[in-house]
Each structure stands twice: as structure tokens, then as C-alpha cells.
Assembly symmetry: C2
Homo-oligomer: 113 residues x 2
Amino acid sequence: MRAHHPTLDQMRLENVLAALSNPMRLTVVRRLAEGGQHPCGSVLSGVSKSTLTHHWRVLRDAGVIWQQPSGRENLLSLRREDLDARFPGLLDAVLANLTAEEAEPGAAPGGRD
Amino acid sequence: MRAHHPTLDQMRLENVLAALSNPMRLTVVRRLAEGGQHPCGSVLSGVSKSTLTHHWRVLRDAGVIWQQPSGRENLLSLRREDLDARFPGLLDAVLANLTAEEAEPGAAPGGRD
């Protein structure tokens, strides 16, 4: 089954903000922001499959990532152009602050929400 | 009892994003972004007291608003300078996109989350 991805018109600001409001998902977004397609299993480590599935779904449903079937797994990529078109400046602001925050001591990874 | 407000160091990006990920709270933030202090009861209408209390707490705990006692009620204001200092560009990006989104047809108010 091909996963549902919202069109630009279907993307909602509050859903994108909610998708970005979790440390694990922010880690995913920062990783995918490096560009390219990444196999699901390579983006986060030490996380159960059900937790991964949950995070992919939240990110995908909000319009933050593409999740494309490829053989027995899925490839993930950031919908950067779509996000930039729909919510100009938002992803850049989040990524810039994410990088700054991670440079601080005491930044703790978070769990499923 | 004076409500807790996080210091700049205590503000976390994911908490601010979560606080902003709700349509009602976005409405509050857009209203407070006009400047000044606003009595709690004047910012959102048609919402139960418990729902209001919930939203003020989420916004306050994340560091998005000041909640100051004044007589029998609280005055709310946006911690704009703090947010801009801690997460440069983030609030501006959210507010700009919020204004753009609200100009679209089909923007629906949301409930408690």
C-alpha cells in the first residue's frame, strides 16, 4: 500500500509544528536535511520498530517527509521544497535553532510522544 | 502562587514547537504579538475555563508567554524578546505563515489537545 502524503494545500501549519515538536523527529529532520533518500532503518538507531513507524507516520502525515517503498523497506527524504513553498522560512528557522541547541550541553534525546 | 516561567536556558525548541502546534494557541500568540498585556479572558472566547487554563499552562511552561497575576485575573503577554533571543527567526517565521494560512479558505479552528 502506498502511504498517504498530503498535497501542499493539505499541509497545516499546526501539524508541521506538531511533527517537529519531538526531539527524535527533529533528529530525523536534521539528518534528512543533509539531502538525499535514506533507508528507514538508517536514520534513527536504538529505537523499536513500532516507535519508528509512529514517527514516520507523524512526519509523513504532516507533509514533512516523503516515504517511498523500495524493495522490502522505505526510503525517507525531506519535502524541503514543498515545506519552503508552503511555509517560507519555517524549516530554515527550525534547523538553524536545532543546530544551535544541539551545540549546548544538556541537550537530551527524547522518547515517543 | 506565582506561576513558573522558564528562563532562557530552560526553554527547549521542541517545547516551543509543541506549544505552537495547536490552532487555539496560535490564535493566542498572534493576538499577543500585537503587543501589550491582555487579560486572560479577553484573548479567546467561547472556550471553557479549564481549556483556557490548559492552553495558558502549555504556552507559559514552554516560555512563549508571561502570565502575571493582576487582581483576580492574570495578564498575558508574549515573551517576544526572549523567544527572539533564544530561537532567532522562529517566531517571525511562524507568525508570517500563520497570517498567510489564515487568509486561506477552509482554515478551521481547533480544540484542546
